[in-house]
């Protein structure tokens, strides 16, 4: 049955190449839109994550802290995974930095009598999430530590932004996928409608719905597969063209190291998904026509 269905599919392709070709073009076009959207979305999320990956923390130390305590705290901070850029800011340096950061009001600030500035131990966390609650609690409980400014609110806001972006992105991808199914479905539906007489003949001759359906399912799978391969080629061409256009000088060249095309695994997943969608939508289209036949 399978070999006969393959033969019939090939015959169908030969006889209706113009319908098949327009189906491939339509599907390929929608896949290029879908694939480009996924690629841009993926890279934007990746770039934003990179940009917001590093977060700064300040560990406020008590006023009368011994150098031994300071060293112990610094050693502990160093041990926390993904921590870097540990820097100690003394109270005098803190005052100096504050005054320097207000260029226009420098003279005025110098005349003011500030309360004592705390000693601060600053460090940078380079990971996709903030310090864990456990890590923060432990830091605060260390001898000589007054407080920890975690910047957690900002991180939470960024995380909320990513969650919303992920939801919107997945929603749009799902929407485009549904459009894709409808396009393949309609393409196959038109292709089958053109051959409704053939289906009638097959039904009269005693062909089972499965026998009639199989060549169309193979045809839909083939249309989807060819369109998918073509669209991946087109998206790669567009990607290379855009990246080359953006990174033409030294300032933007590093972008090449950050943006990326789909991995082999992602392309494989995309291909298999589209192939299955092709088979599924052609199954639906063939079923609808077979069930509505007058014979």
């Amino acid at each position: 049955m399978i070999s006969s269905a393959f033969g019939q599919t090939l015959d169908n392709l030969r006889e209706n190449y113009s319908t098949i070709l327009s189906g491939i073009v339509m599907t390929c076009f929608s896949l290029v839109i879908l694939g480009t959207f996924i690629l841009v979305y993926q890279n934007l999320i990746h770039l934003t994550q990179l940009a917001f990956r590093k977060s700064h923390y300040s560990l406020f130390l008590v006023d009368q802290i011994s150098s031994h305590q300071k060293s112990a705290i610094a050693a502990y901070v160093k041990k926390i995974p993904d921590v870097g850029g540990i820097q100690e800011v003394s109270s005098d340096e803190a005052k100096k930095q504050l005054i320097e950061s207000f260029v226009e009001a420098r003279e005025l600030l110098q005349q003011l009598d500030f309360p004592t500035f705390p000693n601060i131990l600053e460090f940078v966390l380079d990971r996709s999430g903030p310090l864990t609650i456990e890590e923060a609690r432990h830091l605060k409980s260390l001898d000589g530590v007054h407080d920890l400014i975690t910047g957690r609110e900002t991180r939470d806001q960024i995380n909320t932004f990513f969650n919303i972006a992920n939801f919107v992105g997945l929603f749009l991808i799902t929407l485009l996928m549904i459009c894709m199914v409808l396009i393949i479905y309609n393409t196959i539906h038109i292709a089958i409608r053109m051959r409704i007489k053939e289906i009638e003949i097959l039904k009269i001759l005693g062909a089972s719905p499965g026998f009639i359906r199989l060549p169309y399912i193979l045809e839909g799978t083939l249309i989807a597969s060819i369109s998918c391969l073509l669209s991946l080629g087109i998206i790669f061409f567009l990607y290379s063209f855009v990246v080359a256009g953006i990174t033409f000088n030294n300032a933007t060249y590093p972008i090449r190291g950050v943006v990326r095309f789909f991995t082999i695994l992602e392309m494989g997943t995309f291909f298999v998904t589209i192939m299955l969608l092709g088979a599924f939508s052609s199954y639906l289209a063939a079923n609808r026509i077979i069930n509505n036949l007058d014979v």
Binding site: S4, E200, L202, I204, L205, G206, A207, F211
Partner: protein, 224 residues
Amino acid sequence: MQNRPLIAIRKVRKHFLGKEPIFTDINLEVSGGEFIFLTGVSGAGKSTLFRMLLGLEKPDGGIIIFNGSDVRTLAGEDMCRHRRSIGMIYQDYKLLQKRSAEDNIAIPLQINGSPRNIRDKKIKDITRKLKIGKLLKQQVQSLSGGEQQLIAIARAAVHKPILILADEPTANLDQKMATRIFEVLSLLNSEGTTVIFATHDINLLKAHQKRILLLKHSVLVEVH
């Protein structure tokens, strides 16, 4: 058991909405191996009767037994199997025009799932029997009406069905070709296949001493 008719139609009624009743009460018994002419004017219900036998149309009442099964109750794979046991020939041939004659003849064998070698052998046998070997590789749309009908007969008979229903197979053909079509169907009948031949060709009916059924005024009568 041996005398069980191949076809038993009892008290069958059929009425299409907004039209005169097509059958009010028809009864028929056909034994295996018979050759029957079915005649009547256009619209008398010859094609409808064939469609009912094939399970394409359901009667409003009565029963249709074919080979021991009630056609009205068949569904799914049973209905497919039922249709495969009947060879259908149409006035307009109903061939796949863009395919070769051989591809068309092979369809019932493909549906039956016959292996390639068996398929080739059966196609060879039927084409030899019908003397249509030279047409095999040609595309159907390039053949004449008579040749297309011969291909349609080959397709209907290649899988050796129990019954062949020929719905005015000679209607569009000249007398010479009509005679050939009749001879071919007679040949298949002589090998044991039951044939019901619908026609309103009086010459054909007169020329051959066969059982004749007439559909007239919504009833079926035996005239010969």
